[in-house]
């Protein structure tokens, strides 16, 4: 028998045993299966009480117009022979038994496929893509139900879902919700060739069923143009079997999912999931950890990617172009993309697995994404690989007395701000709550508290990262200090950080102000604003935004300022010089927790299009000469976005050689964006004399010249030496790549 799936051990429960689910998860079970008439309610509840275990709704009955026919087939709809044989008679079982000869009850309890589709998508979204379902019913009915479910989940298809029958008639209804992943649909009971052609799994309720129908299932799958291994085999484990019997069933019949009936927590100890999995792994001639995708998905695969070699740990969460959910992960905030594969590790080990896969594809573009807001890093691409660490989003207080916090790279800064707010703490981040922790904390982090508290990286005290060779290291001032130095400004070149440890600052309410001021003479405004900023105490940070002047309209600058003080008088004192830099058209000042400013994150998936063009520069002072040059740039029409953020203050307290981010003396960080790169560069060149480096997170340019602007020579030389040591094969190449073999 050809075993094509990693063995999974599941606990099969009814409503009365719902409470064992968290114990099953803790005991290393892969899956929890709920059955009985309240299976859906039970499983939804269990989803809320567990975090990572797979969820199977087993034995959902889909009645057709001929519901009584099912009973006539003499089939045990939920496969509960095992449970009943344990000598218990949980309430759920009695209900199930009644189904067989209670057509009225059956109709009432049965699943309408359209409602089931919406419920399933909902539970899949709520549970983070953990759901599977196993349906039972007459084969023709199930085939049609699966078609309806798939059709409703396929939101990429235009127009409403219409289904003419014969068993179910749907005149026309909106498609969606789209589940978080392709929900595997297993079948139970009587089989037909048509049903086998569309099922993802087969749930046998007894070993006898496996023996009687296994071969026919294989043959029908092959006849339908599928590989037999495409259809998972799930088995309800009878009470009288030992581990040896199970291994035999697994090896002989290719069972990949064992469902052990569990009535009380003690039943979880009947088998040790880890031991069973190891025993099967030892018996196998070859490791075969693939997830099978239907032909429609495989048809969209890219020739250069070894999809069948995706490590088993990542196969279930990986998304390829034909998968549902691809829409959600293909693009980033400002960049449209069409990667050939997005790997989504959930643990440090899985990150290492993802890197091994990336090492095997050296010819492909390779992006690393925390939340996809960055513009310098190519965290999406065309046809290449992406490793998304969004699932590593934990936020944990390590030591309250030291304000020590551990945060995963996939957390968003709004989540961080909200988690720290109850403690009266904050970590300075960027200006937008939807940005991921990883991209900021490996590059710099110029935010609303920069002048008072420094860069985000200045709050970093340690990190754990996976290096190019898959090894895991901890970096801090005393552990791998060279990497600790490198990760604070050039981290993207050295590994994937899987957790950051920050020392948060005590930050109470802050003043948050927005002013619209006249900018008919932008050069004069820039000089006045720059002076006001440099003269302000450090508790004030902010930014200035100018657009392209429009003929016939007054030119307006947007000024934003944050005062790290909860006292209204101090806030007003600090803001007055800022508000006075030009004629004031509009103002809005509020006192808010830092988390309130960060609560601006859109919950929507990124859907960027095209390729952004941005240029970054760090500048010490906004001199009249700089301001004149900037005014000419604004006038050129080559840019549509011009923003200055404040740095200096605490940022400049850190010695330039203390971190890979080295341009510490600048007081201002400038970013411009345009549509046409050549035109933008021509206009931008007029400002060059005033620059003192650049901040890589705001720069889309690539190549040696940009590296030399991002890092002073001594910093770059040291980075290059470390790159040769830690990533000689240049695996991490998507974000300000320091080529190990380069010389400058």
């Amino acid at each position: 028998m050809n075993l094509r799936h990693r063995l999974r051990i599941g606990a099969l429960v009814t409503h009365d045993a719902a409470d064992v689910a968290p114990h099953a998860e803790a005991a290393g079970y892969d899956l929890i299966a709920a059955t009985g008439p309240d299976a859906w309610t039970t499983l939804s509840w269990i989803a809320g009480r567990t975090t990572g275990i797979r969820l199977l709704a087993a034995g959902l009955t889909v009645p057709g117009h001929n519901a009584a026919g099912l009973a006539a087939l003499g089939h045990d709809p939920a496969g509960l022979a095992g449970l009943a044989a344990l000598g218990h008679d949980p309430a759920g079982l009695a209900g199930l038994a009644a189904l067989g000869h209670d057509p009225a009850g059956l109709a009432a309890l049965g699943q309408d496929p359209a409602m089931l589709a919406r419920s399933a998508a909902s539970l899949d979204l709520l549970s983070g893509g953990r759901l599977e379902i196993a349906l039972t019913g007459e084969p023709g009915v199930l085939t049609e139900a699966i078609e309806i479910i798939r059709g409703l989940h396929d939101t990429a298809r235009p127009g409403p879902l219409r289904h003419p029958g014969p068993r179910f008639r749907i005149p026309g209804t909106q498609r969606g919700p789209e589940p978080a992943h392709r929900i595997p649909v297993a079948i139970m009971g009587p089989l037909s060739d048509g049903l086998i052609a569309v099922a993802d799994g087969w749930l046998a309720t007894t070993p006898g069923e496996l023996r009687d129908h296994g071969k026919a299932l294989d043959d029908a799958a092959v006849a339908a143009g599928r590989e037999p291994g495409e259809i998972r085999r799930l088995l309800v484990v009878p009470p009288d079997l030992g581990q040896g019997d199970l291994l035999e069933l697994v090896m002989e019949h290719g069972v990949d999912t064992l469902l052990i009936p569990v009535v009380e927590a003690a039943d979880l100890g009947r088998f040790a999931p880890g031991e069973l999995r190891d025993a099967v792994a030892r018996l196998r001639p070859h490791p075969v950890p693939a997830v099978f995708k239907p032909a429609s998905v495989r048809a969209k695969r890219h020739p250069g990617i070894k999809y069948d070699a995706i490590p088993g740990s990542l196969a279930e969460t990986a998304i390829e172009p034909g998968d549902p959910g691809y829409r959600r992960v293909r693009s980033t905030y400002l960049r449209g993309g069409a990667p050939g594969l997005v790997l989504r590790p959930r643990t440090v080990t899985e990150v290492a697995d993802a890197l091994a896969f990336a090492r095997a594809h050296p010819h492909l573009p390779f992006g690393v994404r925390s939340r996809g807001h960055g513009i310098s890093g190519r965290s999406t691409n065309d046809g290449g690989l992406v490793v998304s660490v969004a699932a590593l989003d934990g936020i944990e207080i390590l030591d309250e007395s030291r304000r020590l916090v551990r945060i995963g790279p996939g957390a968003r800064w709004t989540d961080v701000a909200q988690a720290l707010a109850p403690y009266g703490w904050a970590i300075t981040s960027g200006d937008y709550g939807g940005v991921g922790v990883g991209g900021l904390a490996t590059a710099g982090g110029i935010g609303w508290l920069a002048r008072e508290h420094g860069l985000t990286i200045d709050k970093l005290v340690a990190a754990e990262m996976v290096l190019a060779d898959g090894s895991t290291v901890r970096v801090s001032a005393t552990e791998n200090p060279d990497l600790f130095w490198a990760v604070r400004g050039a981290g993207a070149n050295f590994g994937i950080v899987t957790s950051f440890e920050f020392e948060a600052d005590e930050v109470g309410d802050v003043g948050f102000a927005r002013f619209a001021v006249g900018a008919d003479d932008p050069a004069a405004l820039l000089v006045r604003w720059g002076r006001a900023i440099e003269e302000a105490p450090r508790d004030l940070s902010g930014q200035l935004i100018l657009g392209r002047p429009r003929r016939g309209q007054p030119n307006i600058a947007q000024l934003v300022a944050v005062v790290d003080a909860g006292d209204p008088r101090t806030v007003v004192d600090r803001l007055q010089p800022i508000a006075g830099v030009g004629p004031l058209y509009d103002q809005n000042v509020v006192l808010t927790p830092y988390a309130g400013i960060m609560a601006n994150a859109s919950p929507a998936d990124h859907d960027g299009h095209g390729e952004p063009v941005s240029r970054s520069a760090l500048v010490e002072h906004l001199t009249p000469e700089f301001a004149e040059a900037a005014a000419r740039l604004l006038d050129s029409g080559a840019i549509h976005w011009f923003q200055i953020r404040t740095v200096g203050g605490a940022v400049a307290d850190v010695p330039a050689d203390a971190t890979a981010y080295a341009h510490r003396s600048a007081n201002f960080s400038i970013v411009v964006m345009g549509a046409d790169e050549r035109r933008l560069d021509a206009a931008w060149a007029g400002l060059r004399d005033h620059f003192d480096g650049l901040y890589l997170n705001f720069e889309t340019g690539r190549g040696a010249a940009y590296l030399n602007d991002a890092f002073p020579p001594a910093t770059l030389a040291r980075l290059r030496e470390l790159k040769r040591r830690y990533d000689p094969g240049n695996l991490f190449r998507d974000n300000f790549n320091i080529e190990p073999g380069g010389t400058r």
Binding site: H15, T41, G48, D102, G105, D112, L126, R175, P603
Partner: protein, 298 residues
């Protein structure tokens, strides 16, 4: 002045947004932590941007500790009564009695019909709801011998198994506005749940609602106080008052207490997804309104 002496309940009406799924869950958890009594969700299964209400309620039940959970209101045409009865009872048992059954006769019939369910006239929908309440109560009546036998125009059961029984005396709260439906509520339901924004004459329309319910209840030999009077409300917190439920929390408290004392409305369900609004409602409106009502009642 009508007051049925019910204890006051304060709840929220949270949008069951499908994506991001955590949005609705976070709001419900915030309401639970803030100490509100009730979190409720609308049920429109033909709207694809909403999560399935029942799935969401079951998930939320697992993530909350003490708040009660209800549909506001479950769409009867999309959900067979026996399924409603059994699933609500099952979740009630899992939560130790935190689930109530908010029930509606159906709205947006185009959406209902588009998913393949039958379209009913308003009169038929009232009759179907009447039958459904009987089926639901019969299923819950687990102690009674024999199966559920019901031969209605819209629902039939031929000896269907009874149970499970809910863990507590589960209430059926019905979304209702018109006289026939209100009379049904007075005769057979445990609460009436209209939305303030659908009352053309504002809260004073509640006098008519009460009149129909109380008359029908009395005629059926029930105490009108057996029917709780609930109300979905919308509002805005603002430093200065500029309208009904548009002003500072103390103004809200006075207005809601006034509704309790004038019309006997004892459950106020605020439509909001905003954790800050939920916190203010729980901390500043609910206790103040309770105090005002208690002071008047004694």
């Amino acid at each position: 002045m009508t007051d049925y002496g019910h204890d006051l309940l304060f709840g929220v009406f949270v949008t069951p947004t499908a994506e991001p799924a955590r949005q609705a869950v976070d709001a419900a958890v915030a309401a639970d932590r803030a100490g509100l009594d009730l979190v409720t969700f609308q049920d429109h299964p033909y709207v694809a941007r909403f999560a399935d209400t029942w799935t969401l309620m079951s998930y939320v039940a697992a993530r909350t500790e003490r708040i009660r959970i209800s549909g506001n209101v479950m769409s009867l045409p999309m959900r067979p009564p026996a399924v409603l009865a059994r699933s609500h009872a099952a979740l009630d048992r899992l939560t130790g009695g935190r689930v109530e059954l908010g029930l509606g006769a159906g709205a947006f019939w185009d959406g209902i019909e588009g998913m393949g369910q039958r379209r009913l006239t308003p009169g038929q929908a009232v009759d179907a709801l009447d039958e459904a309440i009987q089926v639901i109560r019969a299923v819950w009546d687990a102690g009674r011998p024999g199966g559920v036998r019901f031969d209605g125009t819209y629902y039939r059961a031929d000896g269907a198994k009874r149970g499970p029984a809910p863990a507590h005396d589960m209430k059926i709260w019905v979304g209702a506005y018109k006289p026939r439906m209100l009379r049904l509520v007075g005769r057979a339901a445990d609460g009436v749940l209209p939305s303030l924004s659908y009352l053309p004459g504002g809260v004073d329309d509640y006098a008519q609602i009460n009149r129909h319910i109380d008359g029908a209840a009395t005629a059926a030999g029930r105490d009108p106080a057996a029917v709780r009077r609930l109300l979905n409300i919308n509002g805005t917190f603002a430093p200065t008052g500029s309208g009904l439920l548009d002003g500072p929390p103390e103004q809200w408290a006075e207005e809601l207490a006034g509704m309790t004392l004038e019309h006997g409305i004892s459950t106020f369900i605020l439509a909001t997804d905003d954790p800050a609004v939920i916190a203010t409602y729980a901390a500043e409106v609910a206790p103040a309104a309770r105090e005002l009502v208690a002071a008047e009642r004694c």
